[in-house]
Every structure is written in C-alpha cells, then in structure tokens.
Amino acid sequence: MAFDYQVPAVPAENGLSEPTQQAKEAEVPQRSGTAPAENRRSKIWGYLGLALATLIVALPLYFVLMTSFKTHGDIYSNPVSWIPSPFAPENYSYVWNTLNFDRYFLNSVIITVSLVIIEVSFGVLSAYAFAFIRFPGSSLLFFLVIGTLMVPNEITIISNYALVAQLGWRNTFTGIIVPLAGVAFGTFLMRNHFRSLPKEIFEAATMDGAGFFRTLFKVVLPMSWPTLMAFVLITAVTEWNQYLWPFLVSDTEKVAPLQIGLTQLQDVEGLTNWGPVMAGTILTTIPMIVLFLLLQKSMIKGLTAGAVKG
C-alpha cells in the first residue's frame, strides 16, 4: 500500500497521441521558422529569472554578511548602511578568541561525519531492502520508518534523555550520535529513487549472477549518484545544525558542537552585540557551503556517468 508507486509511465507517444495535441499540430510549421528567435527570447527570460532569484536570495545574505563586518553602532544605523563603516573584521577575531572555536569545530566535524557515514549506510541498505526485497510486513515496516518523520523531536527528547543518562552516555559523542542515527528521510528518498530505476537493469544483473551487494555497488549506486549526493548533503546539513539534542546531552566543550558554542556570544538581558554573532554564524556556515560546492560537482558528474552506463 502506502508510499508505493512505480516509475510514472508516461512515454512520449502517449502524451502526443492525446486529442488536444492534434489541434496544436497545425501551429508547428509556423513556429519552426521562429525557433531561433524564440530560443533567444527564452534565454533572456531565463536570465531575468536568474537575476530576480539572485536578488531575492542574495540581498538578505549580503546583509547578513555585511552585518558580520559592522560595529555595534553601524548595525543599527538608520538609514541602513550598505557597506560597513568602519569595516570591522575584528568581529571574526573576537569570535575566534572568545570561543574555543577549533575545539567546537572539531566536535561538530566528528559528530557530523559519523552521522553521515552511519545514516547514509543505513539509509541506502534499508532503502535497497525496501525497494527490492519482498518480505512479509515490509510495507508495514516501511510505514513505521516514515512514521518517525511525523514525530516532532520536542516530544522525544525528555524520554531519550532519561535513557541516555541511564546508559551513562551523557556528555559523550555516543550519547549525542546514537539517538540521532536512525534514518527515515534518507530511506524514503533512496527507496523512491531505486524504485524509479528501470527494472530491466536488475533483471540483467540477476541473470549475470550478481549478488545482493554486487548489484548494489556495481549497478544501482552508480546510477543513483545525484540522489545519493543530495542525501549526503541534506544529512550533513541537518546534523551540522542540530541544537536541542546535543545541547541537552553535552555539558562541556569536550563534546559540544559549534551551534552550542555560538550561544556564548549572546546576552540574555540587555544588549547583544550582533556583529560577532553574525560572524560566528558565517564561520559556522562556510563548511556546509564548501560541501555543497564539492558535492554539486559530483552530482553532475554522477549524472553523466550514470547516463553512459544506463
């Protein structure tokens, strides 16, 4: 039942043989003459769209970036100051010196890398099992997995905290990582993707006598590169930004990730100087942007590789 669907079978012929298509066909020759012009026009629209998107997304980002270089008074200037004056790169050195930044950073990397490795392995294997192995109760089990997406973590933390404390895992990486390691999102994503792969490939692989793992690594994964990279990326971002759970379980900078270290820059009563807070935010975000740039390339490379083999 649930969450099942096959590759949507919409071959081109079907679409074109719809009655409405015939009505349009008359226009075809007429348009063939204007095709290059239309192409250019659509390019222009494309660039316009690009510019608009850039503006809406970039303007606030630009503002955040500039704020990280502003002094306190400059942040609150009215009219808004578009270029920091005076330019205050000392916000960054302040963050670096106030926090034990490298320690928190290392903790974040340990937590995120462990979780990405665990979750991606679990996610791919579970998805593969759900997609290709029929076993009794598999759809019920799958529904259980997806069901976890419906449970907000606000209701799980107290109970999990009690369990982790009883196990003596407080203020340890194990305590932070294990409760977060179950993967529902990735299982869902990858299973959907696996299902959309052409069936013939598996039949061919099975006929060749390829085993479970061989098929997975030699046939299925190479065809799934873009989706897999999206999975890796989203997992990394989610875990990098975890706050509530690591906050409750960790006590000291021995294990606490960056997001928790950053709260030291804020003040509860009175004025927070937002320049360093923004600088800290930018510093924390950069690794994820770099990761995106790296993975984006392999998303595209994976696609071309997959296309050749498929």
């Binding site: 099942d4 071959p11 081109a12 997304v57 942040i75 873009p226 989706t227 923004m278």
Partner: protein
C-alpha cells in the same frame, strides 16, 4: 535492520511514553508522582478557543510553506537545469540559506524586517512607503515567519528537484524536442509527470518539516505578538511542556498533532495510490 531498531528505540518508545503521559497531570519539574486525569487534558485543549486559533495558524503556515517552497523550488530548478551562464554560482546561492541554522536566520532577519532599522523599511522608505509592523501586527508577523521559512527552505526543494531533473530520461525530452512541443505543454505533459515521485516525496517531507518549525518562530517572535499570533502546534507543545512546565498537557497537544499528521499523510498516500 539496525536502522529500524534505532528508530523504534529513539522515536517510538518516546512516542508511546508521550501518549501515556497525555492522560496525566504532571508538572515537568515535579518530584511528586503524576496524577491520572483521563481525557481532561484533551477536553481542556478542545474547549479553549486559543487552541483553534493555533490550529488555524498552523494550517495557514503549513499550506503556504509547502506550496510556496515547492512551486518556487521547482521553478528555480527548471531555470537552473538549463544551460545559463553563472548557473553554478546561483545554484550555490539558492542553497546557501538552507545550510544556515534556523536560529541564526531568525536572528539575522531582524535586520531585514525590523520597522526601525531593517532592510525592508529602508527599501520601502526609498519609494515613500511605511514599513508594516512585522513584529506587532498579528497578520504581518505570521507573514514574516512564513516568508522566512520559505526563503530558508527553498534550497531543499530546489536541490531535490534539480537532482530529479538531472536524472530524468533525456530521451523523452528529446522526443518532445523533435516534435517541437511548446515549452509549457512539454512541462505539463512530460516533465511534471516524470517528476511525480519527487513531488510526492517533497510534499510529504516538506509538510512534515514545516509542521515541526520551531527555531525560526522561537527566535523571531517567541510565538507572539498578542501572546499567540504566530504560535503553531509544535510551538505550543514546547511552551506548555518546557515553559509552563505542564508536561501532561503538552503531551496531549503533541498526541493530537501526531494523530492529525498521521491522518493527513495517509490521505496523501491514498491519493497518490489512486492516481497511479
């Protein structure tokens, strides 16, 4: 499957704990045993008009967040799937907000929305308009948190759609190309149906994610103005449990929310099944 074990231990066990707790009156800090009160928490919730206001706000927020981020995300993915100069840069740019934590965005956006010194009042001021009271008018406050949420999560729908577009079978595209199918028609006849699995996937994950929005609301408005104007269900759970220390009542709200989400998701899945 160790994965399923983890999920059962760390999600379903707490969930069951939570449902049990919803029948008790329990102050979260209390060392005294909780008292069993049956359905009283549920009755109190349902008979309080504020609860229904919160439900309504949750619906508005979720519907706008889901449609907004999916439609815009798809449009951007289509745009950037084309061979345009500078697309790699713009792709990274659109994804950037998604990697920033919600709390940080909430903090940063006060410099965008604040009617006293924000970016928007500056821009509106240049064309001679007054800035709306984003923080004190209930409608504008809800608009503000919703817009911020969509802005932040565009990167997610965008990346998933982009990955899907790139994985599409190009032969279908080419077939349509040869037939000179108009672009819009090609989109509705060829591309969109091919994207249906992705759309379905996104509609579920974005819905579930947006129902659990917490950071942005907590930092930007703390659920206010007027006390509850931007409070969503999950924020109410948090407030009741941790701020008002009424863990039993909070658990009841959480259970109601969980059941509602369960029903919505099952309906979504059924609809998807029917279409196929």
């Amino acid at each position: 499957m160790p994965n399923v074990v983890l999920l059962i231990v760390f999600t379903y066990r707490p969930l069951i704990d939570n449902i049990r707790l919803s029948f008790y009156n329990w102050n979260i800090s209390s060392t005294r045993p909780a008292t069993f009160v049956g359905l009283q928490n549920y009755i109190e919730w349902a008979s309080n008009p504020v609860s229904w206001q919160i439900v309504w706000q949750t619906i508005i927020f979720t519907v706008v967040a889901v449609f907004g981020s999916m439609v815009i995300g798809l449009a951007l993915a289509l745009l950037l799937d084309r061979k345009l100069k500078g697309r790699n840069f713009v792709r990274s740019l659109i994804f950037a907000p998604y990697v920033i934590s919600g709390a940080a965005i909430g903090v940063a956006f006060q410099f965008v929305f604040d009617p006293g010194y924000g970016l928007i009042q500056d821009l509106l001021g240049r064309v001679g308009m007054d800035s709306p009271d984003f923080y004190s008018s209930p409608g504008w406050a809800l608009f503000m948190v919703t817009a911020t949420y969509v802005w932040k999560n565009l990167g997610y729908t965008f990346v998933i759609y982009l990955a899907a577009l790139q994985g599409l079978r190009k032969d279908l595209d080419e077939a349509a190309e040869i037939d000179r199918t108009p672009r819009a028609r090609k989109f509705f006849r060829v591309t969109l149906p091919q994207l249906r699995p992705t759309t379905f996937f996104l509609s579920i994950t974005v819905l579930l994610n947006s129902l659990q929005v917490f950071d942005i609301i907590n930092v930007m408005t703390a659920g206010g103005p007027l006390g509850t104007s931007t409070t969503t269900l999950v924020f109410q759970v948090y407030q009741e449990t941790f701020v008002n220390s009424r863990a039993g009542y909070g658990a009841a709200v959480a259970t109601i929310m969980f059941l509602a989400v369960l029903v919505i998701t099952v309906v979504q899945v059924r609809m998807q099944d029917k279409e196929n």
